[in-house]
Symmetry: C2
Subunit: 432 residues, 2 copies
Amino acid sequence: MRIMSASQYDGKRSVDAGTREQQEAVKAILTSVRQQGDEALRYYTERFDRVLLQNFRVSEGEFAEASELVSSQVKAALEEAAENIWTFHERQVRQSWFTTKESGTLLGQLIRPLQRVGLYVPGGTAAYPSSVLMNAIPAKIAGVPEVVITTPPGADGKINPAILVAAQIAGVTEIYKVGGAQAIAALTYGTEQIKSVDKIVGPGNIFVALAKREVFGLVSIDMVAGPSEIAVIADETANPRYVAADLLSQAEHDPMSAAILVTTSQTLAEQVSQEVERQLADLPRKSIAEAAIRDYGAILLVADLEEGFAVINRIAPEHLEVMIAEPFEHLGKVENAGAIFLGPYSSEPVGDYFAGTNHVIPTNGTARFSSPLSVDDFIKKSSVVSYSKRDLRENGHKIVALAEQEGLSGHGRAILARLQDFETEEQEGEKR
Amino acid sequence: MRIMSASQYDGKRSVDAGTREQQEAVKAILTSVRQQGDEALRYYTERFDRVLLQNFRVSEGEFAEASELVSSQVKAALEEAAENIWTFHERQVRQSWFTTKESGTLLGQLIRPLQRVGLYVPGGTAAYPSSVLMNAIPAKIAGVPEVVITTPPGADGKINPAILVAAQIAGVTEIYKVGGAQAIAALTYGTEQIKSVDKIVGPGNIFVALAKREVFGLVSIDMVAGPSEIAVIADETANPRYVAADLLSQAEHDPMSAAILVTTSQTLAEQVSQEVERQLADLPRKSIAEAAIRDYGAILLVADLEEGFAVINRIAPEHLEVMIAEPFEHLGKVENAGAIFLGPYSSEPVGDYFAGTNHVIPTNGTARFSSPLSVDDFIKKSSVVSYSKRDLRENGHKIVALAEQEGLSGHGRAILARLQDFETEEQEGEKR
């Protein structure tokens, strides 16, 4: 792994915006599903997933079958993980609130769950039941009454059993065997068998990402996820074996994953570099991790932790591990990071699977302005205004002045309609 | 105003997605500013705003000049409005939090302000100082250290003085005279004079909207705002003059604004219809309001309030006025509405200018999944995980099982690196 000074590092990765052909293909799929509904879904599912389906919805029988195919060890671990995720995310729930004034006015904020949410789950070789938990549980806690999943079927017309087991654990029973841009279209426009949703979450390939970007505004979408990354900030107290293993755990995701060590210690830098080579040797996903380390891996030497955290904040990593003598003492220096793991035992996979925090985290520097998935992503807020007669009498003319200043006389007149009545009332009161 | 049964109403308005030419023009502007910085800004500002500027930043002298041009009445009203906005939004501030476990693990959520936010303020004939307050104050309360404004200059190279006064009241002093897609480009990529930002908020014309959509992901953006709308739900107790005036206050915004009355009372329906005609007659922005009422106005008769609120929830209006005998009793029926105004004195312009709630509210049905602008829009969250040795020893093998199930051995190995050390320690402990 290359070692360099922090100033030499330019960590830019370009996000795949898709080719013009891919963009046009996605637009065609969206239009076709919008116009032809299930018929279009059948066509694209046969074409891309090589299976012709009449009914897209997963049956009760299929859930039962899946349950038998997953080991009890994995099931138990998923259940315990779900419990931890539930416990952590429950703390994010917020209440509607209001404030009253002596003058009679009440202002507030009403918090409500979204009505219906669609979760896209990728198919293909790797199935990620943990992602089902991470996306579905916050929606359930928010109180979303209808959480549905779409996921591409295999050529046998089936869904990976671990996905179905995780869905059941998370309380999701409405699952459709549709993938790709056609699934995003179905969730946005609705078809005969699939009702449209208010929000679409979950990762996907370039076609799914392009489709989500295209329908953004018609429905809400979560972030457009890029390749994963990890940054570790470490001093001479860090264990090089742990650092190397954690860097590789992200590097194995994707050839475009980034794995970066920022350290004050030249010795650690060299040890980690060697450890990475050693551990790479027999890693099952070696070819992916090797490419990621080669193209997007780096060990950056810094003069002190001050400089180190400045580098971290520029990178704004999805995952940040802090392996220094006093991690809590330096937590306040972290401006930009999706998830922060402190100390030698907070290995990043702990957060991916089990601790309870969410593993859907902003990638590729977007932690500057985005946040991990949370209950907040499944609620909406409404302002509430109950303005009192006394306050309107007192303040009405100020509102009229502001409206007139902006050239919006109609706004002013709506207020004046009331103020005139108040005057009439007062005059009549005086007469009496 | 046309009266019909609710079932006859199809309130669809298509959002302007821009022509292919507009899209290409925006892409060209973005590229040009990214590559040529201020030089490109100068070129486009001369071309579109008809003024050649060397320095884009508004000077102290210009602030002082502006202050003298705005009446003390308007200034005082803006200051009081700002105070109300500040008071309401301060209640939205959230704290970082954490939870500890007896096992030694700590999990939490760190809440931090964005570092730098850009607020786009439209120029042209109408200037909206109230929008400056509504966008800037929540950012300030969130703790954003750098809030900047871009706004197109007039042909005289100046900015509307009320905008500058409102900016000063909100505490924003970094203002640049740049508008259109070129302003969005400058805020996204940065130029010699304008530093890039983390998030762009504020409304704009179609070029601004297209540019925001294009840079979405590189920076965060707020919602893409469509034309405004108001829905009033009213029973026979409502004052038809008030209802009509409030409908017109939104209709005057834009020929595509929607103004809808949902009522259980045939009498009120007819009275409001007549009142709208009467009040339209001498409305200064008559032509705009008339077109909006003709094309997107409707009075919908419903059998009862139950049906009425069902219609409202389908429309998911930006503004909802509830003018019925017992508004609070029915508040729980509102699922989808950006801002809810209760009772006869909560005329919608009260919220536009003065009450303290935000007037940046999701339009065109997006209240189904979006919320009014708030302090939440200017913060980001980071998960914090400090996992204890005891918990890792206890749960490590479950994490490995989940990682292996997903085919991510590198994730498992990161955990195993620690578990192996724990075993060695135990064996050594036993030997001793």
